[in-house]
Amino acid sequence: MTELVESLLRGLGTGSVYALLALGFVIVYKATRVISFAQPAFMLAGAVLVTYLAGPLGFWVAVPVAAVLTAGLALGVERVAVRPMVGRPAFVVAIITLGVDVAVRVVVNGFIGLDVRHVGDPWGLRTVTIPGTGIDLQQRHLAALLATTVLIGGMFAFFRYTRMGLAMRAAAYDQEAALAMGVSVGAVFALSWGLAGGLAAVAGTFAAAGASVDAALWLIALTALPVIILGGLDSLPGAVVGGLAVGTIQELTATYQQHAPWLGGNVSVITPYVLMLLVLLVRPYGLFGTREVERV
């Protein structure tokens, strides 16, 4: 029982990282109708920036600064590589972001170098015990869960109560109508990329907390792709629910995979993809996605 609850809690911790990443994907998709394959690169860039800034600034200052810097990087990428492609087929733009990802990641990997780099988080692998139950919970997972809750709350409030949030919702609903109503769709594009970059940087930091930043970190960001497919490409709640679900199922698989040795070690790495295939066979638009209606 303890084992089950502990792996569930671990799953919520990793799941909240996925939720943050998936939120970035969905925000970009809603605004521009494009899946940004550049998210892994932004996540890695954010985590590496934190490793450099945590020394002089301290962890708590380094994370927001890195998030802002990564958002700036994302803005630049959007302006240079994505904006000229407005109106072109979505898959062409997606391939462009794939190109951005490959190129940016090489540069960022250059900054990782051969040293072991830590984000300098205050938690490490320490645990807290929930009183009365004997259940251990890693502090970093608790922190990730809390940070995600705060960020997601802020994000939903932003979309719900601010003028810019309203503009973004309008642009997501119908770009031309929003443009006619005086919404600067260009600004919406830019802001959505910036938000996605910032979220990716925070997610990267929590993904690397308690471990070190290395080039393989980007694979975690790719796990957010099955998450958004699972939740539905254009659903923000779907991204959160999908992220937590994928994280939990992944950790449960990791805990219990010794009972099925024929699956091979590390089968938990591919469970998100298997889960995605299964869900898509039943629901082609994910759990919460809007069904595409084709009018001729």
């Binding site: 072109r88 898959f91 794939l98 090489v106 792709l225 497919i229 591919i270 993809y273 898509l280």
Partner: protein, 375 residues
């Protein structure tokens, strides 16, 4: 009106077609026929002009071109974005390696080393894998499909690196298929030429066969159905194209091409391990198709040669740019430049010349066609 074709053509009027058969001819103008024949003669004569090292690289280019043509059929012609090409390459490579492998060896092998057996088998099995994936492809569109095929690469990589009886395991690998044709070893220096010369000729001839087959498929009923689906799938469905059927055919043919390419690719280096079939390999093939020119066979071939020769060029670059290092553990090194170039070239081509190398060629041709006038 004579419907037999060429003889009724007017000289100097390449766009004037007087019969449907003329429109469908593969090499419709004399200039095209002469150019293709000339190119072929040069390509066949290259082994007498170049060193073995370069020939080996060109052989790899030819094999990559077969794979790129396959991806071009499904992505360029039928418009279904597949990031899963690396998976089908892997299926083909392992099928061929298992069939021709040493039965007493460390990994599974059946000891049938004849290329006439393992090459079709590799194509067939990879094609079957394509058919198995196709139900997902017929249900999904656009970016959903791209992500699902990306998932396929990860699942495949896991299976291949865990199934060490088949693949030798991650980081160890297994020998590739043996090149032998009814008792005649192909990849061995003999009276006909050195190993690399013979490899190059073999791969060139295979590429020629596969390219012609693809070009013929593209101009058939099936090919027209592919383009109809790419241009507007709903409209295609309305005019009577069976979407599920033709998407399945597209995936099957494309995967079969990938399987053959995968089977041949590693016979050149002789050894391969499961980590080769990563997402980067898929991205490289996407880059070949898009940089070469989506929706053309010659474009896919040009793109494959371009992308495969790129590492060679970046290595030459080192002589010109002094701060680049050839050591993988120093920064910046040529390997980083190479990977960045994949990404940057993709972006630059998609923004500035979406029709790829083929589009550049069309522009050059049109310029000279109207010279000295601008149009």
């Amino acid at each position: 009106m004579n419907t037999t074709g060429r003889r009724t053509r007017l000289r100097g009027r390449p766009d004037l077609h007087t019969s449907y058969a003329q429109e469908l001819t593969l090499f419709d103008t004399r200039a095209k026929r002469v150019a293709v024949a000339g190119l072929l003669v040069v390509a066949l004569a290259l082994p007498f002009l170049l060193t073995d090292e370069v020939l080996q690289l060109l052989a790899v280019c030819c094999v990559a071109a077969i794979g790129a043509i396959g991806l071009g059929l499904v992505t360029g012609y039928a418009g279904q974005v597949s990031l899963g090409h690396a998976f089908f390459l892997a299926v083909g490579a392992y099928t061929a390696a298992v069939i021709s492998g040493d039965p007493d060896g460390r990994v599974i092998g059946f000891g049938i080393t004849n290329i006439a057996v393992w090459l079709p088998a590799a194509g067939l099995l990879a094609g079957l894998a394509g058919v198995l994936v196709a139900p997902l492809a017929t249900r999904l569109r656009g970016l959903y499909l791209a992500i699902v095929t990306l998932g396929l690469v990860f699942i495949g990589q896991h299976v291949f690196s865990e199934w060490s009886a088949l693949t030798g395991g991650a980081g160890v690998g297994r020998p590739a298929a043996t090149l032998e044709f009814f008792g005649q070893p192909i990849a061995a220096t003999g009276p006909l030429g050195t190993r690399d010369q013979k490899l190059y000729w073999l791969m060139l001839l295979l590429l020629l066969g596969f390219a012609l087959a693809a070009a013929n498929l593209a101009r058939s009923k099936v090919g027209r159905a592919f383009t109809a689906i790419r241009d507007r799938d709903i409209a295609a469905g309305v005019i009577g194209v069976n979407l599920a059927r033709y998407k399945t055919i597209a995936f099957a043919v494309s995967s079969a091409y990938a399987g053959c390419a995968g089977a041949l690719l590693y016979t050149i280096t002789g050894f391969f391990d499961p980590s080769s079939f990563s997402l980067l390999l898929s991205v490289q093939y996407i880059a070949m198709v898009l940089i070469g020119g989506a929706g053309t066979i010659s474009g896919a071939i040009a793109g494959a040669f371009f992308i495969t020769l790129l590492p060679r060029f970046t290595r030459e670059l080192q002589a010109w740019v002094p701060f680049l290092s050839a050591q993988p553990n120093e920064v910046p090194n040529v390997f980083q430049v190479e990977t960045i170039l994949y990404g940057v070239l993709l972006i630059v081509f998609l923004i500035f010349e979406p029709r790829g190398l083929f589009g550049i060629w069309v522009r050059v041709r049109n310029y000279w066609k109207a010279w000295p006038f601008s149009y």
